[in-house]
């Protein structure tokens, strides 16, 4: 396991395999074959989104990922980027901002990036998913991401990485 730079200020990503979680998810979300197979498997959930065909769902996803990528690119080149505009508390009913190592999400349509917020406004991406259900507990892919969020949170806790200072000190 590694935590790497994403070029977006204050945004890091976990790397569990050959690519980090940000790159891995963006790769999947721009892969037409992957998307087609994913929506074919999950087409029963598409009716909630007023989407009638698998092809339409793929087209929508390609637009959502373009918006997400553009937002990220903008943050890379902005003078005073506001990373907080990209993420929200994972739990919609949770308004407390000072929870230590809080779970976060970033939305673009049904695309989600999940992250742990380290004190000092640093976000570490733990994974991502196409969320077609109301609750994370209602689909295998989001259940998996929930587990990863918990594992990563515990990992950071165990390693004593709570704040920006520890992270930055290690990255210098």
């Amino acid at each position: 396991v590694k935590i790497i730079n994403t070029f977006v200020p204050q945004l890091r990503a976990f790397k569990f395999s050959s690519v980090d979680e940000l790159e891995r998810n963006l790769d999947l979300w721009t892969n037409t074959k992957y998307l087609y197979e994913f929506f074919e498997k999950n087409k029963s959930n598409l009716s909630f989104f007023d989407v009638s065909t698998v092809a339409e769902a793929v087209e929508k996803t390609l637009l959502y990922v373009e918006v997400l990528r553009d937002n990220l690119i903008e943050l890379v080149y902005q003078k005073n980027p506001n990373i907080d505009s990209l993420f929200h508390n994972l739990n919609d009913n949770e308004y407390k901002a000072d929870v230590l190592l809080s779970k976060q999400k970033s939305k673009s349509g049904w695309l989600r990036l999940y992250a742990i917020k380290v004190e000092g406004n640093i976000y570490v991406i733990t994974g991502g998913a196409i969320k077609l259900t109301e609750k994370m507990s209602q689909s295998d892919v989001t259940i998996e991401e929930q587990k990863k969020l918990d594992l990563c949170r515990n990992y950071l806790k165990d390693e004593g990485i709570y704040d920006e200072l520890t992270l930055m000190e290690l990255m210098i």
Partner: protein, 155 residues
Amino acid sequence: MNNNKKQSLENIVTTENSGWLAKALWAKVNKKWLNRSSGVSLSVLEALREKEWSQKKLAQEMKVSSQQINKILKGQQNLTFETVSKLEDALGVTLMEIIPFRRENAKQIIQAKSLREEVSKPTKQQIQPVINVGNKATLKIAYNRNASVQYKNAG
């Protein structure tokens, strides 16, 4: 923080950079043809589903490797006319159309000009250069949300 702990954390928190930015900037520059490539891929995937063909079967029909089909279906291949034609022949569908739009544009220009003729009465030589630009053509992806319907009609 003691030295051992710091050493172990340094192995986790690295200065390594993600590859997403290079890919995202590349996709932005190549957006137009990438959209077309994913359009072709979607049409092929729809056709495979309707014909109940596997990707392996398509590879056999086209006499190419399964890896080649896999690359095409990702929707990020800069496809050649040859590959598109092979896909069309194997699947019996139209994936791309040549639209002689310049000729159509020329007709519209001529129609507009003919309206002005009543006032200015241009000579044939003035119209001729516009008519002669009709040899070039452009490409249009045939894919749309009704691709499966198009396939049925074509079959």
